[in-house]
Symmetry: C2
């Protein structure tokens, strides 16, 4: 369990990162816990980058994300839903991936008219599609529009600290004027990741995360 | 504790009511639990109804809400925030009240540029204001824009069933693909209310309430 005072670090609007020191935990070994709120965003294949932005084009990193090697790109696309409603400017995150994927909050899904399935990143079989519109072209995704399943990245040391393993589930309690417990965060443990919880804007807004006074990552009993 | 299978009753978009029978609880006395999601809405004074809609005008009930005597009106107003951003059509709920009040989700507050305080209904001192625009006139509210504190209405029999009293707090656990526990629901017990939890759209969307498979109202340990 990590309990902590709040120190706020807003990287940019696309990904708000709530940084929690471990000063009040009383445990010298408590790892630093970062909770990031991902606004709606898109991951693209190399091929789709060229279709949307032009032959030979690659993504232009604009802002590093908390996990090493990941970034918000300068590029944005329009996401068009089945009712011809549109989100006009959705940020692309890099690097590119083997399959393009659109991650939305439920609020976005309602405005687009898409009934979003909750999926782990990359588990896209049978998910809804959409149309992406860029300055140089259009991509019709047959599938790939999801609400990302809430999850926590960590390395093996963090996993040992919490007593969990890759693929297990944890709970996140956010204390604020709108206190809540988010259950079943998927643990994604590997050799190199920083300790970071990924939530979407609906979850962050429900909890008023920006005004949180205490955050705990908990192993379910 | 009420655990229940789900039966859905959507009254209209302004207030979605998730009705839970008590069939699976095994307790004959378990009361029916309704969870309602209130979209953004406005309560008005008689005077403001006349200013906004015309001399001598009163609200026109369009749809009864779950609690007896309350209704969604046919009337809507535009809510204008400090950055001159606007929510063009916000439903008015009736009956009228001694003080006008605007209840928004955080998502609405972000789009309007208002940092919403979380308040119990009617506790408006020191809250932000806004401008309301109707077909017949304009009202400048000096205060009254809030995120409504999550709460549960009940009568004294329900309170006795749960072992709680007016003013105490309870937790609501919503089991879905996005399971969460909302803590600190304010208990509003009186002689006549039906058992009903009031959430806002951020909370409903965070939990994917429409797809909930189990909902429990719990007395904190």
């Amino acid at each position: 369990m990590t309990t902590a005072t709040l120190d706020r670090s807003v990287i940019e609007r696309i990904v708000r990162e709530i940084v929690l020191g471990s000063a009040t935990s009383g445990k010298a070994t408590a790892p630093k816990l970062v909770v990031s709120i991902s606004a709606r965003h898109v991951h693209l294949t190399d091929e789709h980058v060229e279709t949307l932005f032009g032959k030979g084009r690659v993504l232009t990193p604009a802002k590093d994300l908390y996990q090493d090697g990941f970034y918000a790109a300068e590029e944005t696309v329009a996401v068009v839903g089945p009712r011809r409603r549109m989100l006009p400017s959705v940020r692309v995150l890099g690097p590119t991936r083997p399959q393009s994927q659109v991650e939305l909050a439920f609020t976005d899904g309602i405005s687009l008219g898409i009934d979003l399935p909750v999926r782990a990143s990359g588990k896209l079989a049978g998910t809804p599609g959409c149309v992406l519109v860029g300055p140089a072209g259009v991509v019709e995704l047959k599938e790939g529009v999801i609400r990302a399943e809430r999850h926590v990245h960590m390395n093996h040391d963090h996993a040992a600290y919490y007593g969990v393993q890759n693929g297990q589930r944890m709970n996140l309690r956010i204390e604020s004027t709108c206190t809540l417990v988010l259950e079943d965060l998927l643990v994604r443990a590997d050799g190199t990741s920083k300790l970071e919880v990924h939530l979407d804007t609906d979850e962050g807004n429900a909890a008023d995360l920006d005004k949180a006074t205490r955050i705990e990552l908990l192993k379910p009993r």
